[in-house]
């Protein structure tokens, strides 16, 4: 078994800074986030959304409604591995109809997760507009999808994996790059 090479790309303090920057950008682009709702995609998008909301409240005093959106049941790759556990979906207080919904996820890769999220969203309600915020964009898109807010662009090869860790889930804030020997994904 090949031991993957691991490289820490983003340190804990940097994760916090990146989140702050995204929070500022959302406030900026949405004119104070008066009609914004944040929807985190579990697992790590959900705490990320809550942190963004907390930072936006700290910066501007706005109470941004936050929820989570499980996209498992909408995935197009369910048959490619064992059954996935369902994560909670919680609608933001006040719902999403007419809102500017910002989807929040940790890593943007092929774009398929976001496509599934758009499907899932459609059955929750009808937002005014939908935007996307991600902590890391690692490239290799397979669908015409781009993020509106990107914490960090990390060019990767397909044999690499980007692992985001958040203290709520993993006990620590970090982003790792794992290089895996060919043909043996981690």
């Amino acid at each position: 078994m090949a031991v993957p090479l691991r490289r820490c790309l983003v340190q804990p303090a940097d994760v916090a800074r990146v989140i702050d920057r995204i929070a500022h950008e959302i406030l900026e682009k949405s004119a104070g986030a008066r009609d914004v709702a944040l929807l985190g995609i579990p697992t790590r998008g959900a705490p990320l959304a809550r942190r963004l909301a907390a930072r936006m409240a700290a910066f501007e005093g706005v109470e941004v409604p936050t929820g989570s959106l499980d996209i498992t049941l909408y995935r197009d790759d369910l048959r490619m591995r064992g059954v996935r556990a369902l994560e909670p979906t919680t609608e933001p207080p006040g719902g999403i109809d007419g809102k500017l919904v910002v989807l929040v996820d940790d890593v943007l890769f092929s774009g398929r997760t976001v496509r599934a999220a758009l499907d899932a969203l459609g059955e929750l309600g009808r937002p005014r507009a939908v935007q996307l915020a991600v902590l890391v964009d690692r490239g290799h898109r397979e669908l015409p999808i781009r993020a509106d807010y990107v914490g960090k662009n990390i060019p990767t090869s397909r044999t690499e994996n980007v692992a985001v860790r958040l203290s709520e889930v993993d006990g620590v804030d970090e982003v790792w790059l794992d290089t895996v020997t060919e043909g043996a994904p981690a």
Partner: protein, 328 residues
């Protein structure tokens, strides 16, 4: 999980996982759009050798909400001998490319034969076999108890559940005893001695012949249906005597603690094992059991069919999947 044949197939964590999944899926039932694309392209067959409209439509609704194609195959009254028809039917379904077969049969063990005989390769869900088991009924009962009395989370540790009636012939009772005890509940079976199976003392539950003595210590009372064919087979003298000793009427309702719920898997013999006003009382969960049945069956279908086919090579990480942290 390849098949769901017996409630005994589910260990504690798996059982809780099914209930958690059902809880998540139940939220979807509250939405205006109830359909999910999850099982698109999958074919689910309702293979019913015995009439049961309520169970069939519950499975049908569950499969359709997950966008599976549903084929209803009612084999009742088929002219060939039962044995031939089970195997021949299975082969036909296999040739049609069936992903899952939901089978109801009057013979105990028929789903096991379907699952283990090599006639078909798909998943098998036992929707009630003879006097053996009915695992999805037990799951929906546990789900209902958990929602009402445990806030919809965790297991049923310490819950005192009393099952009353024809345990001997009840597949609901067998599955419930297995599942509820797995989930930590304390189950008591109450019935006349003629309607308790030989060997019941080895089951993971207590037994009693006295309903009145058991009711005050019950958090849940589940009344089992007494089928008409038992009524003239000397299991008890008369329906009147049965009803007097083992029926749940208004007077007995008064023996129950305030929070206790009354359940019945249906269809009910009103006036026999349960008085009409009891069936319609606020304690009764009979209507929500039906609703919960769909959620639980969605969960079972999702957990059986929502992933890679058994035996198919499954890539460790699908494209687009965020890598969970902590992978070595």
């Amino acid at each position: 999980m390849k098949h769901l044949l017996s409630a005994g197939d589910l260990d504690h964590d798996t059982a809780v996982h099914v209930l958690d999944t059902a809880e998540r899926l139940a939220r979807i039932a509250d939405r205006p759009v109830k359909k999910l694309p999850t099982l698109r392209g999958r074919t689910v067959v309702n293979l019913f050798f015995e009439d049961s409209t309520r169970t069939r439509i519950s499975f049908e609704a569950a499969a359709k909400r997950l966008s599976a194609d549903v084929i209803n195959f009612s084999a009742k009254g088929s002219s060939v001998s039962k044995g031939e028809s089970l195997k021949d039917t299975a082969m036909t379904l296999e040739a049609m490319g069936t992903d899952a077969v939901i089978v109801r049969h009057s013979c105990s063990g028929a789903p096991h034969r379907l699952a283990n005989s090599g006639w078909i390769g798909g998943h098998v869900v036992n929707a009630g076999d003879g006097t053996h088991e009915h695992p999805t009924q037990a799951l929906l009962d546990a789900f209902t108890m958990r929602r009402r009395l445990r806030g919809g989370v965790g297991d049923l540790a310490g819950l005192r559940v009393t099952l009353v009636g024809d345990v001997l012939h009840s597949r609901v009772a067998r599955s419930n005893v297995l599942l509820l005890s797995t989930l930590g509940a304390a189950v008591t079976l109450v019935a006349p001695p003629t309607l308790l199976p030989v060997g019941v003392e080895t089951w993971p539950c207590a037994t009693s012949y006295d309903l009145d003595e058991t009711l005050p210590g019950s958090d849940v009372v589940m009344m089992l249906r007494v089928q008409s064919e038992r009524m003239n087979a000397s299991f008890f003298p008369t329906t009147r005597e049965y009803s007097r000793r083992y029926g749940l009427d208004r007077a007995r309702l008064g023996l129950l603690p305030e929070h206790t719920i009354v359940m019945h898997p249906g269809p009910m013999n009103r006036g026999m094992e349960i008085a009409p006003d009891v069936a319609d009382s606020a304690r009764s969960t009979i209507v929500e059991q039906v609703t919960n049945g769909v959620s639980v069956r969605m969960a079972v279908l999702y957990l059986l069919l929502g992933g890679a086919d058994i035996g198919a090579p499954a890539p460790a990480e699908a494209i687009g999947e965020p890598v969970p942290a902590g992978v070595a």
